[in-house]
Symmetry: C2
Subunit: 225 residues, 2 copies
């Protein structure tokens, strides 16, 4: 929503790089978003968006937006989309009270069975979450909806030897490389470093043609049992 | 400088996660920094800092700051500091006109010989930059100076089969995990994805005790020859 407000304020259709700092947990209800444009350039525009519930700030966003319709250039790809069983063979994440959260009703997310077993008490031991993402009814995923994809998956550390508990995000940055082709997105999230009470979670999103369309990294607090 | 302004504005000593969007190239001379606090919480404070040269915005920063003096928690480390020859056996980067830039006189940076040969026309073929970092005269590196470390190295893609030319940073995010111990820092920067005219550069900074003290990721534009 905050990134969408920035596309409106700047007239640029695509979030190229967006950083959100998570200030307070959201609750159902209306929000107010205040945008401020810092620079409007030829290729990009940069601005902030702050989301409030009443006077309480929920989210602070800094974003640079542009137009990715003509994105092209040399290619160097060290990596590949994750191998996944078909969406039908994966585990659909459905909302159920507070966990999984109600937001899961807004997306169609299917976890790799190996990474979903934490829900039945069998953590894989690898801080990894892989799965498919699309919008309900196969509604097309634009570059704004990609921002939902990188924040929709359960925390990677649910598969580490750590408590399965609230893992508050401090900050999330997404880089959008391209507009996704129609179809399911393949997503992969992994954590390499848990230390000093923090962990990072790195994400990759690949479209149905095998193209990398987005990268993400978030900083989160280690859950406490 | 912008992060330092935020530590002053918030009274919190350590940048925990800082994102900078690079709006215009800086030139020698004075700058003005405008800070705005968005939230002051118990553990963290969040705010923006915008740097101007006259009325021209140079840099927009969003940061969350805290106090890392007591940072602790469970550890999971999948990675290790880069193997490097001694600083004396590495290649010191010295300022020379516009490239390397004058900023290099403010830091003591020693590149792994394998990664430094681009300067003599021999690109390694691996988009990788490894080396040592410290401040001149071995001045202690605090968490603010760590932010210089993650932005001081030559672009990784100088070692890829791409033109060695200006590689403008669009955005850089640093996560600071801990206050570094005294001594040289080991740094490693790598790129996995060059596509659609963009590339990411992921960095790790390790202190003299072998502890990960910082991570970074930047989005940059592919250089044009």
């Amino acid at each position: 929503m905050a990134a969408r407000a920035l596309t409106g304020a700047t007239g640029r259709p695509d979030p190229v790089t967006v950083t959100a700092h998570y200030l307070s947990p959201g609750r159902p209800g209306g929000v107010r978003i205040v945008t401020q444009i810092i620079k409007e350039g030829k290729r990009f525009a940069t601005g902030t968006a702050t989301m409030f519930a009443g006077t309480r700030p929920l989210l602070a966003v800094l974003g640079t937006l542009g137009d990715l319709s003509q994105a092209e250039g040399p290619e160097l790809i060290e990596g590949a989309p994750p191998e996944l069983p078909s969406p039908e063979q994966c585990v659909r994440v459905q909302p159920a009270g507070t966990f999984p959260p109600p937001f899961m009703g807004q997306v169609d997310l299917r976890l790799h069975p190996d990474d979903a077993a934490f829900a039945t008490g069998r953590q894989s031991g690898q801080p990894l979450m892989r799965g498919w993402f699309r919008l309900p009814g196969a509604e097309p995923v634009d570059t704004l909806a990609l921002l939902c994809a990188v924040d929709a998956f359960p925390p990677t550390v649910f598969n580490a030897r750590l408590p399965i508990a609230w893992t508050p995000t401090v900050e999330l940055t997404a880089h959008i490389r391209a507009r996704p082709a129609p179809g399911w997105l393949r997503c992969r999230f992994a954590t390499r470093f848990v230390s000093s009470g923090f962990l990072e979670e790195d994400g990759e999103v690949w479209d149905s043609t095998g193209r990398l369309v987005g990268q993400s990294r978030q900083l989160a607090l280690v859950p406490r049992g």
